[in-house]
């Protein structure tokens, strides 16, 4: 946190790598973390080498290393997105029931998930668009949403057509109720609190401007 001034770009909107860097900055030393499929995996690239952060992958591994390069690919060693990865010293393998017991039992410090929508109550929608022709696929998203001690969401704040993704109530099918703690976006970082949505930082915009565009009451940062 004391590195904020150094690392945080003040101009916005941020790119996905900038958002990933912000999230990496906020992950405490030695935390056990699950990075969801897709953009959240970028967070790993921004963790300092001495962070001591241990990555969990729900297909049964702790202390997962970076994506495998040429010559390192082992079909028996992939992440949850089926991407070949590597193993760090101190790794451990376990089966799926143990892996999800770990997740659901509240042992992960943080998970980072993508989202279609997050509500002011911290409801998360990230698994299903609800479109009639969509094939539903949930994977481990519901387990991560209810299991991790802290759930961080990484997303753009608006869809490409300008519709807010931080909303009074989710219109897409839910992944979990009241489970999101913090939302990292290209325009701001938000905390979901019992008092309402609090803005931690903004990037190239203001709290007032965001409140208007989102049509939501926003609280200033609480420090």
């Amino acid at each position: 946190m004391n590195q904020t001034s150094q690392l945080t770009p003040v101009q916005g909107p941020l790119g996905k790598n900038d958002i990933a860097a912000l999230i990496a900055r906020d992950i405490p030393q030695g935390a056990f973390v699950n990075l969801g499929i897709g953009q959240p995996t970028l967070v790993a690239d921004h963790l300092p080498a001495d962070s001591g952060v241990v990555l969990h992958t729900e297909n049964g591994m702790l202390n997962m290393g970076p994506a495998a390069r040429d010559g390192q690919v082992d079909p028996d060693l992939t992440n949850a997105g089926k991407v070949p990865v590597t193993e760090l010293p101190g790794a451990a393998y376990f089966h799926h029931a143990d892996s999800f017991a770990m997740m659901r039992g509240g042992h992960l410090d943080i998970c980072v998930l993508g989202a279609f929508q997050v509500s002011t109550a911290g409801d998360l929608a990230n698994w299903h668009t609800g479109a009639p022709d969509a094939i539903p696929a949930v994977g481990g998203a519901m387990d991560l949403a209810i299991g991790a001690k802290q759930v961080f969401v990484m997303m753009t704040l608006f869809t490409k057509d300008g519709t807010p993704k931080l909303v009074p109530e989710c219109s897409y099918p839910l992944t979990g109720l009241g489970c999101v703690d913090r939302v990292y976006t290209d325009l701001a970082v938000f905390d979901i609190t019992a008092e309402g949505i609090s803005v931690r930082e903004t990037f190239g915009t203001t709290v007032d401007d965001l409140a208007t565009r989102l049509n939501l009451p926003l609280l200033p940062a609480t420090g």
């Binding site: 028996d76 060693l77 089926k82 387990d143």
Partner: protein
Amino acid sequence: MSMQLCDHADEAVADVEDGSTVLVGGFGMAGMPVELIDALIRQGATDLTVVSNNAGNGDTGLAALLAKGRVRKVVCSFPRQADSYVFDELYRAGKIDLEVVPQGNLAERMRAAGAGIGAFYCPTGAGTLLAEGKETRVIDGRTYVLEYPIKGDVALIGAHRADRMGNLVYRKTARNFGPVMATAATTVIAQVREVVDTGALDPEAVVTPGIFVDRVVQEADRA
């Protein structure tokens, strides 16, 4: 009773009956018992319910079984993948039933079947589409969904090594669902890369004890 070492995958799956529930190991291709699935295709059993994390990749393995029209229903967490076109087409044509289960529930429901648990209260999915119609209960202020065991008639799993008592070890994240499925089916059939002498596996590192394993077949391309 004692494990049967089969010479060929065809022998191992010879008695699978029409209408069976078949648990199929693997997460993507890691741990997928491809030779056993190919043998099941040759064997011809149909009207199957397949329980697996995914609904097949590309044209081989589970996807090939689906393509032959042998599967009535898929129970899985994540059918939709980049290369799940066989399933996608069957599903959109209304030719296959789908039960989407959160990945942790899939694992835990099979564990329950193997552990003699009649049902369990689980936080995953509470308040979502996937818990609709299910019994819920508030325990210590948290809402839980009542989930029932998933039991297989047959489990087809992939492992790394077996000894002659059926003790199994896996390799890296290819472990995934194998150990849980091995506890949850009436007949458990493992495809392994190598069969070693009894006593050659470290008793501290055996993941699936032989008590769970009915038949073992060494992969043909390694025999």
